[in-house]
């Protein structure tokens, strides 16, 4: 049971960090508004749930799957727009990106607040997502945790196939490794940037949709995740997807094991301390990729 708590935390970490790993890892853009893209996904899900409830109640058990797709599309489109309007002007100025995206996150939070109200909302969950599965008496595995785990595996597979097996992935990797050469052989690097960024945002949207099953949906919900997200990506070594997985796994296990033996606050402190010490020894993170910049 406690093992599942760790695995569940691991899947949450991977899910929230995957989008950022692409944006920050592959493109080097520090996106402080990443949490708000999670929130976009969450609100899309809530909207879908409200629509389903109002117009076709018989559709309610299945809406969640569609809500995830909608969350992806909405977050993808907004990410696409943000890249076009803002990020692409800032590629050479990483520190300005940090400030600009942080500003963006504040703006987005206030937009959520004005549009959806300051109070938290909740999506109506289909029955198959509620409750727990009892393989043996006394062991309850939360269904929503299982669902998040399954989604994480699917999404990770999809991202791997996209990056390492598809034509687009090839272009993305080429651009990351050597932008000039990639441009010279005819890859439209600005377009690659835009789609990569939007893709990262879309994945964040999916994560946000999944998190409505286990956590809160409010204007500032996204900011609850941003610190952990960066922690996972930086600790894993920016630029390495495998590193992101390894780091999510080790942080999640360390934290859930320590939480079991001491209080939540203390476990968090010790986890952060361990991360700092390891980063002092290995500034590049767990897995570093040699990239020609």
């Amino acid at each position: 049971m406690q093992a599942f708590a760790g695995v569940s935390l691991f899947s949450v970490f991977v899910l929230m960090a995957l989008g950022l790993a692409i944006i920050f890892g592959q493109m080097g853009v520090i996106n402080m508004a990443h949490g708000e893209f999670l929130t976009i996904g969450a609100y899309s899900t809530v909207m879908m749930s409200m629509l389903a409830e109002k117009f076709m109640p018989e559709f309610l058990p299945y809406y969640f799957i569609f809500a995830i797709l909608v969350a992806f599309v909405v977050a993808f489109s907004i990410g696409y727009l943000v890249e076009f309007l803002m990020i692409r002007h800032l590629y050479r100025r990483p520190l300005d990106t940090l400030l600009a995206t942080w500003g963006l996150s504040l703006i987005m939070q206030q937009i959520f607040r004005s549009a959806f109200g300051a109070r938290e909302v909740s999506a109506t969950l289909p029955d198959w997502l509620m409750g727990s599965w009892q393989p043996v008496e006394g062991v309850d595995i939360p269904l929503n945790g299982l669902f998040v785990l399954g989604l994480t595996i699917l999404l990770s597979l999809a991202v791997f196939i996209f990056l390492f097996k598809s034509r687009w992935g090839l272009k993305v990797r080429a651009t990351t490794q050597n932008r000039l050469m990639a441009g010279a052989v005819g890859i439209s690097t600005p377009m690659v940037d835009r789609v990569t960024f939007a893709l990262g945002c879309g994945i964040a949207g999916v994560a946000g949709a999944a998190f409505t099953t286990i956590a809160s949906t409010g204007p500032t919900s996204g900011s609850l995740y941003i610190v952990d997200t960066f922690l996972v990506v930086v600790f894993g070594g920016a630029g390495s997807l495998l590193g992101t997985f390894a780091s999510a796994f080790s942080i999640a296990q360390a934290q859930s094991v320590m939480e079991f033996f001491m209080s939540g606050s203390m476990a968090k402190v010790l986890t952060l301390l361990a991360v700092i010490i390891i980063l002092m020894i290995r500034p590049e993170g767990l897995f570093s990729v040699k990239v020609r910049k």
Binding site: V121, S132, G218, E259, F260, S265
Partner: protein, 416 residues
């Protein structure tokens, strides 16, 4: 009964007000016109008062993290002020609101409080929500001799001449709840869970003393999670292993939602694992979802479903003004009390001067407030009842217990 001699000293007035008590508060409101009480007489300290208007401040966060909680209080305060104006205002003067945004940032609260008191010269301020924001504005109110009505249930350990606390202090909320759990649920072992900041920590300290010294029970676990934590898997497992008779919780904000969603998903329904919380109101349930709190107990002074004539009127008026879907939580209702208590104190003092209003306040009673009888104590907190509500699937509670009227005790002896 309104013809108090204005030359009487404050002490005598106080006694008289206390003696007149309920009778003078039952509806005999705003019968005095400005003509009988010239501004020079009701306002000797240069507040923003004319023959026909009086300015007050509302100071809450409408932006930032705390907006989620404070919105309800703003709505309730505005509703009360509207109703007072519709009845002819206060000492014949219409109330004008100056609203400032504390933006969930404590220094901003202090700055805006200063602006309201020094530049706008408001006669009273209704505002603040977190203890941190109240602590930030406290020196400003004491220094400028302002008047603050503070609506949140809080940890106690404070008593300022310039503040009236219209929510419950910790002992009112906690002790009645624990006594009930011990008696009705037969709880002997307790697990305390809270977010990691001053209010849950102080509350749990009081709870632990009460459990160990008075109820003779045992605390089998005490846990704090950082504000904003969203993963409670390990904690839930620990609770499953310890199997306490009662989990006593004070988790707040976004964490609150995650906590209950995960508890429910882990198969720890409240039938199997009774749980009493002091941090879940109708507002929170909106975000958590009624299906996730079914069977949970909350200890509060107010619930929207209270079957009282005062509450019916309040809920109807609130829904008319702010929409039929609005929900009303404990703190929202406390916000509603502020302007009415101020009105009663001003009418008793026949003056807007802060010193006179403060002096006239203790002893004020209100029979049919939305949560029933209440009385202002000389320690500036309220006498009131505490209720235990059992949450239903529709996001409302069934009241399962109601205490006697409890005296406020912000500095509880033996609990610190």
């Amino acid at each position: 009964m309104y013809f108090l001699d204005k030359a009487r000293d404050a002490l005598k007035r106080k006694r008289l007000v206390a003696a007149l008590g309920a009778s003078m508060l039952l509806g005999a409101v705003s019968t005095v016109s400005a003509a009988t009480l010239p501004t020079a007489q009701v306002n000797t300290t240069g507040l923003a008062i004319t023959d026909s208007t009086v300015k007050v401040g509302i100071l809450h966060s409408t932006t930032g993290t705390m907006a989620i909680s404070e919105t309800g209080s703003v709505e309730a305060e505005k509703l009360a002020i509207d109703q007072i104006n519709a009845m002819g205002g206060i000492l014949g003067r219409k109330i004008e609101i100056i609203q400032e945004d504390g933006a969930s940032d404590w220094p901003t609260f202090a700055e805006k409080a200063k602006k309201l008191l020094e530049k706008d010269q408001v006669a009273a301020v209704f505002g603040c929500w977190t203890s941190a924001s109240r602590k930030a504005v406290l020196p400003v109110f004491e220094n400028d001799n302002g008047l603050l009505y503070y609506p949140t249930f809080y940890e106690g350990l404070e008593e300022s001449k310039n503040v009236f606390y219209t929510g419950q202090e910790a002992t009112q909320q906690i002790l009645a709840g624990l006594d009930w759990a011990s008696k009705e649920l037969g709880a002997k072992t307790f697990y305390l869970v809270g977010s990691d900041y001053i209010w849950p920590r102080t509350s749990m300290k009081i709870a632990r003393k009460h459990i160990e010294n008075v109820l003779k029970g045992t605390v089998v676990g005490e846990e704090y999670y950082p504000l904003g934590s969203t993963q409670f898997g390990s904690l839930i497992n620990k609770i499953k292993l310890k199997k306490p008779d009662l989990v006593f919780g004070a988790v707040v904000g976004g964490s609150n939602v995650a906590w209950f969603k995960q508890l429910n998903a882990a198969g720890l329904t409240f039938k199997k694992q009774p749980m009493l919380t002091i941090s879940v109101t109708e507002d929170e349930v909106l975000g958590i979802g009624g299906e996730n709190v079914e069977g949970l107990y909350s200890s509060m002074m107010y619930f929207q479903s209270l079957d009282l004539p005062g509450n019916k009127k309040f809920v109807d008026a609130f829904k008319t003004k702010w929409g039929a879907d609005s929900v009303i939580g404990d703190v929202t209702e406390s916000g509603y009390l502020g302007p009415w208590l101020w009105l009663r104190a001003v009418e008793a003092a026949k003056s807007f001067d802060v010193d006179k209003v403060v002096a006239a306040s203790p002893g004020i009673e209100w029979e049919d407030s939305p949560h029933g009888y209440l009385k202002v104590d000389k320690n500036h907190h309220l006498w009131m009842k505490t209720r235990i509500g059992e949450w239903q699937k529709d996001g409302q509670v069934k009241i399962v217990y109601e205490s006697d009227v409890i005296k406020p005790d912000p500095f509880p002896a033996g609990y610190q």
